[in-house]
Symmetry: C2
Subunit: 358 residues, 2 copies
Amino acid sequence: MTSGQLWAVVPAGGAGTRLWPLSRAGSPKFLHDLTGSGRTLLQATHDRLAPLVGDRVLVVTGVAHQDAVRRQLDAVPADRVVAEPSPRDSMAAIGLAAAIVEREDADALIGSFAADHVIADAEAFRACVREAADVAQTGLLVTIGITPDEPSTGFGYIHLGEPLAGFPTAHAVEEFVEKPDATRAAEYLASGEYRWNAGMFVARASVLLDLLAVEHPDLAAGVRAIAADPGRLDELWPGLTKIAIDHAVAEPAAAAGKVAVVPGTFGWEDIGDFAALADLVPDPGTGVKVLGDPERVVALGSNGLVVPDGGRTVAVLGLDDVVVVDTGDAVLVTTRAHAQDVKSIVEALKASGRSDLT
Amino acid sequence: MTSGQLWAVVPAGGAGTRLWPLSRAGSPKFLHDLTGSGRTLLQATHDRLAPLVGDRVLVVTGVAHQDAVRRQLDAVPADRVVAEPSPRDSMAAIGLAAAIVEREDADALIGSFAADHVIADAEAFRACVREAADVAQTGLLVTIGITPDEPSTGFGYIHLGEPLAGFPTAHAVEEFVEKPDATRAAEYLASGEYRWNAGMFVARASVLLDLLAVEHPDLAAGVRAIAADPGRLDELWPGLTKIAIDHAVAEPAAAAGKVAVVPGTFGWEDIGDFAALADLVPDPGTGVKVLGDPERVVALGSNGLVVPDGGRTVAVLGLDDVVVVDTGDAVLVTTRAHAQDVKSIVEALKASGRSDLT
């Protein structure tokens, strides 16, 4: 095996409660085909990365989902799917993957890409990752920052610093900033100096772990100990610090001038809710967009999104901006304007003892 | 058997396409409990009439529904459910029932009451029917006219004539008038001289048939011939004139001064659509009205009507005036304001070859 190659790390977690009832704790959104492509988000993520990394892939997922992940990724060896005994946030997941890769190849790079993002232009994405990998070879932590096309308040932003000499598009990172309010988001967009933080990181595995060791030595030591002796996973995992990779490593490293960003313009979407999903789904000529079989939908005088996923026919009459999601045991009816509030339905179900539906 | 007693005739027909997908051609609305009372509309109609007529009941229904009708009315002898080989409108159905009753008792009265109406005050209804029967003993055709509480354009009206001497509330009928436009409906309401035509008729069976014999002698002879020899039903039925009882008998008889009306104020509703249904259904405290199990509904920031009839949970978020009807094979989402247009969904399904759902 050539040394210093890129590995893909795919954290596959998150219930996606704003996509209920399609996405459930037991069947999270990365396991679903949410674009009508015929591939689930997880499969599409793997398809997109395979030309870069071949079989150098590690998927980190919850123990409840490992079988489903292995079934969906039949080309990935079973031992490349790492099961977390319990959710301990993104740093533990990516850190463990980094430690496993580091033991395979001390010079290897890792690129971490969530299993539930949608990317329109895979070739443009891979070009960004290649540049990020080149930059990462210099010892920096590299992120890919999405060029914003609207003043979103739903994402954190990356403030660009100076261009990085010797690379086509990379810049230094001035700082990571939290999700802004609408006014500030508009300023960020207008300035042209900000990119969305999509949580994509490329670094030499050892660089990432060494940065972690500065801020959270116990966490770095913990994941390296598990990688050295996988039999200790259940013993050590529950004691690992629960923290996001942004806070654990990216923000402190940026403050220390050790982070670069490659701007990306490849059409990125994290499908945070049904309004975002509607943007990705075609209108088959019925007035509403349909994710699924258009033969199962009758829409008159309506627009919005229908997901006929329960085998039934869904009829919509005289509704503007409507969202109807039909599944085997639950039907959601709302509007795109209320898409962000769908999680409150999940909370209401839990509060009333109907967690079996969540 | 005492001569001259009242029989109840219950025409049980009509698909109720504006109540799709709850009501279907194969499962029309009279077979459903649409009020949450625990009794179907057909059963409630029988319950309401039984104190007046005992077992002197004839239900006339389509051949496709005779088994369901017999199952629901287990107290009614099987031969009191008459199956029409094909739909031939209300005059043939009620005329055949009248002819059957006439052979049992030449002096008998019949009262015809649709199987799919809802009446709030059964005792007040029966008091009206008793007065109508008393008037009918004088040889008149008697209708029960509903006192309007709004200027509805959805019903025909009955123009009251002079009070009938010797009866507490009955009037002569000046004329039957067709469904009015909004302006005229408002005038009718303001005048106090009009009642809604709910299609309820009480008359001596022989009087009704003799009136019919004047206007449509073939039809009167046809139903009397079938009553005399039920074996000829399939032979004679297809040749009977297809006409509503209003046009065939009530309007000509009113012009001849042979019709009386007993005004009714017993809370009447024909549940023509989901807006009307919503008026009859309680709000269990969820913000939306629920016909069915409230445990199957989660509603946040919404009002309207939910019918969870498919065994699934229905979640509604942020929708005003919404109507959601979930059944085993179809889900309807619309608003109360569009309730009258639901039949266009049924038409669209038929047009696209999905008649199995209608």
